[in-house]
Symmetry: C2
Subunit: 542 residues, 2 copies
């Protein structure tokens, strides 16, 4: 039986009909305890979901739904190392990457020896670099590290590096290059000294087109600038599950760090894929980040669902998507250091759950992952918030802020937070016609103008949001935050009955691209393609 | 009568029912001329919309709809300088900003004297800076320019500056600061020399909170670093319609550049708001950009609707949103230099048309602006394209690429373009069950595995997209591109019957924020707020 055929799903549909008539204004007015009872805290994170369009009753039903979708069993299976990524026949063990002791998941199948040994090698290499003892050309110390990777081999470490830049090494610079477009790598190379630059090539297969083209350009740049005496091994490290390919490229074996088939790219920040991040912030802060994630793992595995942050967060998304009809989810960080978080979550959620076939291969008969999008919230206020307030669309929002600034300046932080809190409040409660009329009368607007302007100045409100308030952007807190979202995705995948850990949808485009590429050199090949592709190729040749 | 009650709207609804049964595969198979007949070119831009889910018949009906929505009249009224921004009683004359001769809009109401004089002053100031003849402290040449502005005073110039960075001055550095969060300005200040830094404060009212807080921090930084002998006038310029306020802040009158009430922030890139951009790329390239926009204006004003790029682009959006039910629109640039384009278009579209009340004050009875979102396309392939291919949601996409790279490197550009063309092709045509079966048999996948994997490897296709292919990222071409999107927004506003030029929806949040701010210092004030705001404030005090 699919989950949508369950009694609880039907109950939720009925309940939705009541809730659709209820405004957040009524919910707050009717329950003075609402804010306290619809929020959870975990270490240095407050998760306030009282401005979601639901009640404790709603949550009770959603928790029941999670049980009927076998979420407890799925959680157990993941932590037990079962091959729950069935379409690829793999375990899903990113949680192992933030553990500190063996065995895990169990004595028979223990991945921790590899994990701990790799983490130790990473730390040694990172410390060497951070101490200026990693040598480039002619014994000069490496000063710039360039991470070459794309997707999960870029977004996670880059996002976290920006989030923790206050912890970064004072002089060592870390850069991230992902795009096949030369317009990313070429201008960066202009600012680098080849003698003191190290490239980390990150690709599970060591065949990712974008990454290999960028790596080759880097190698050519080193050769053409440093001449025959260049020792390429001094300028490269690699993260890959195919060390022999990395070695063939010219990476020294002792600088190839492994990654395993039980870690998906978008869950790999915690592995050697995070090497550039560890170099930036140091092994100690990296470990703190892991410990924060580990605490969230333990919470997810053990806390009752009604107090379980990832479970509640996931179920709220189910409510918004499958019952209130939201098609998107906005992520709005009120912290410049979290500027890459929306892109990171976009991959985490949309690549994991942007599917419409169940784990068993049947069509899913309900909506799945919404479009995840967003920008820095304060900037968004002056850009797209108009639509959130008056566009007539339901757009659930995640507001994310830190109480204390990582770069404090007088007069900034409290003003910033007041904007964050004000926006979620205004979105929830709006401004009624009579309130607008009253305030225009106070402003002494002429009566005929009041009538004209009134409809434009009314705010419907009832726009749902959650606020995640962190005490600080500490490594441990950020580790918990990212693990929270990872497990939220897992919860939703379980309810929708999909495999959140494969990504077959990325294959076709790659295959078509490899067929189109030769047609740039040989126009005769173009005739094999559809008319539009032919026309685009012809325009390129003009 | 509202547009949704028109006969043409009803015809389009009926037509939609046919089209919903038709796959892009069928449309291409049935019409070998499709690619040629469903594309337009304009100067160095090819606009291919053949992979949208429509036919020439659809377009014919949409063009008719535009007529019934009085689009020709609205265009005429905008160019005539009528006060079509009725809720604010203002003309809408950003098109004047890219003209080179007076009078405009007409002899009685001519804005061109101001426009041309301001452009000349901007050019003189920009040339001074570019020649190293603008002096900071003790006669030292200014080397860093920091634009302080937010929303329209940030996104436009920042986006275009990145797009045209290949044209930028070799040594003068231009930075953009918008966020109230100190974590944007503070780390930047650490890299700057106060003696050689100039801040441009951009705010129409000169009261924008974010901008004024950042400007004050900049002023304090100059004072505390340069001491009593600092001449603040050497370190500031301003763009504002309230010059007296800029002067009171400490900006020299001859460095205050005007902006007018007939330009909305999100349409102001072409005005003095673009000063930092002009400083970066020089007055000549800036003029070329204006000329490109002016050519698009002329095209929009005069071309028959069936050959009119902004009209067709706008109507395709109407088709996708109001008839095919799309709720979002993805913008996917295949050029690193266009990385801020999605954010810019987010503001342009969502702040202009994210409304649900008509220009006459009535509720709009159809969907209006979709959520505009996106990322660099090549990066997106490794992040969220999974959902575009297999998520089961309709997501119209704008693919944007340039034939020639602005930073060419061997092996990059053709591979990049082949990905761009391949993705739109794969999204349109997908891969059928029998095609998947065939390719798995070729790969010698075991029969039982074929059955298991088959449903996961099928691509439904039929995902609509357009491709905008530019010959190069030249200033004129980019000017045309941005004007194209501006007018697209105008077309859609006309069809939906809304005022695309006000933004009442940004007011409430600002008002609430100003009430919350004092509660940080005086906890007793918190009791005036809703329970959630109170709880958030209490958490901050812990």
């Amino acid at each position: 039986m699919t989950i949508t055929a369950s009694r609880t799903w039907a109950d939720l549909c009925a309940h939705r009909q009541e809730m659709e008539k209820t405004h957040l204004r009524d919910l707050f007015a009717g329950d003075p305890e609402r804010a306290g009872s619809l929020s959870l805290s975990f270490d240095d994170i407050l998760y306030d979901f009282s401005k979601q369009r639901l009640t404790r009753e709603t949550l009770g039903r959603l928790v029941k739904l999670a049980g009927e979708a076998f979420l407890p069993e799925w959680i157990e299976r993941m932590f037990a190392g079962d091959r729950i990524n069935v379409s690829e026949g793999r375990s899903v063990l990113h949680v192992a990457l933030r553990r500190f002791s063996a065995p895990f998941p169990n004595g028979q199948f223990d991945v921790m020896a590899d994990v701990l040994a790799t983490r130790k090698r990473m730390a040694e290499f990172a410390e060497l670099l951070r101490a200026g003892k990693c040598h480039g050309h002619h014994g000069m110390a490496i000063r710039d590290v360039v991470n070459i990777g794309i997707g999960g081999s870029d977004l996670g470490p880059k996002m976290m590096n920006q989030a923790l830049r206050a912890f970064a090494h004072p002089t060592l610079r870390v850069h991230y290059v992902s795009n096949l477009d030369g317009a990313q790598l070429a201008p960066l190379l202009q600012t680098l000294d080849p003698r003191t630059t190290l490239f980390i090539v990150v690709s599970k297969t060591f065949t990712t087109q974008e990454t290999m083209v960028n790596a080759e350009t880097a190698r050519n740049w080193l050769k053409s600038n440093l001449g025959d005496e260049v020792n390429l091994a001094n300028h490269f490290a690699a993260v890959s599950s195919r060390p022999e390919r990395a070695a063939a490229f010219g990476v020294s074996r002792d600088r190839v760090f492994p990654i395993w088939d039980w870690v998906g790219g978008r869950y790999s920040l915690w592995s050697a894929v995070g090497l550039a991040l560890m170099i930036a912030i140091g092994p100690h802060a990296f470990d703190e980040m892991l410990r924060g994630a580990e605490r969230m793992d333990e919470h997810f595995r053990t806390a009752p669902f009604a107090q379980n942050l990832p479970v509640i967060m996931g179920l709220i998304g189910i409510w918004n998507t499958n019952f209130l009809g939201a098609t998107t989810n906005a992520v709005l960080p009120y912290n410049e250091s979290l500027k890459y978080l929306p892109s990171f979550l976009q991959q985490l959620e949309m690549e994991s759950n942007g599917k419409s076939v169940s784990i068993a291969g049947d069509p899913v008969d309900c909506a799945t992952c919404p479009i995840v999008w967003g920008e820095l919230g304060n900037n968004g206020q002056h850009a797209f918030f108009q639509l959130l307030h008056q566009g007539g669309r339901i757009v659930p929002c995640d507001f994310i802020a830190s109480v204390r600034s990582d770069y404090p300046l007088p007069g900034h932080q409290e003003a910033l937070l007041s904007n964050c809190f004000a926006q979620s409040s205004a979105l929830a409660f709006g401004k009624t016609e009579s309130e607008v009329r009253e305030s225009m009368e106070k402003e002494s607007v002429a009566p005929e103008e009041v009538a004209d302007l009134l409809p434009h100045r009314v705010f419907a409100g009832n726009q749902p949001s959650s606020t995640l308030l962190l005490k600080t952007l500490a490594p441990g807190t950020l580790g918990s935050l990212v693990a929270l979202y990872e497990h939220k995705v897992f919860v939703q995948g379980a309810v929708w009955g999909i495999n959140s850990f494969d990504q077959w949808g990325v294959e076709l485009g790659k295959a078509v691209a490899s067929r189109i590429l030769p047609a740039f050199d040989d126009p005769a090949l173009a005739s094999a393609f559809d008319g539009s592709t032919q026309a685009l190729l012809a325009y390129c040749r003009k």
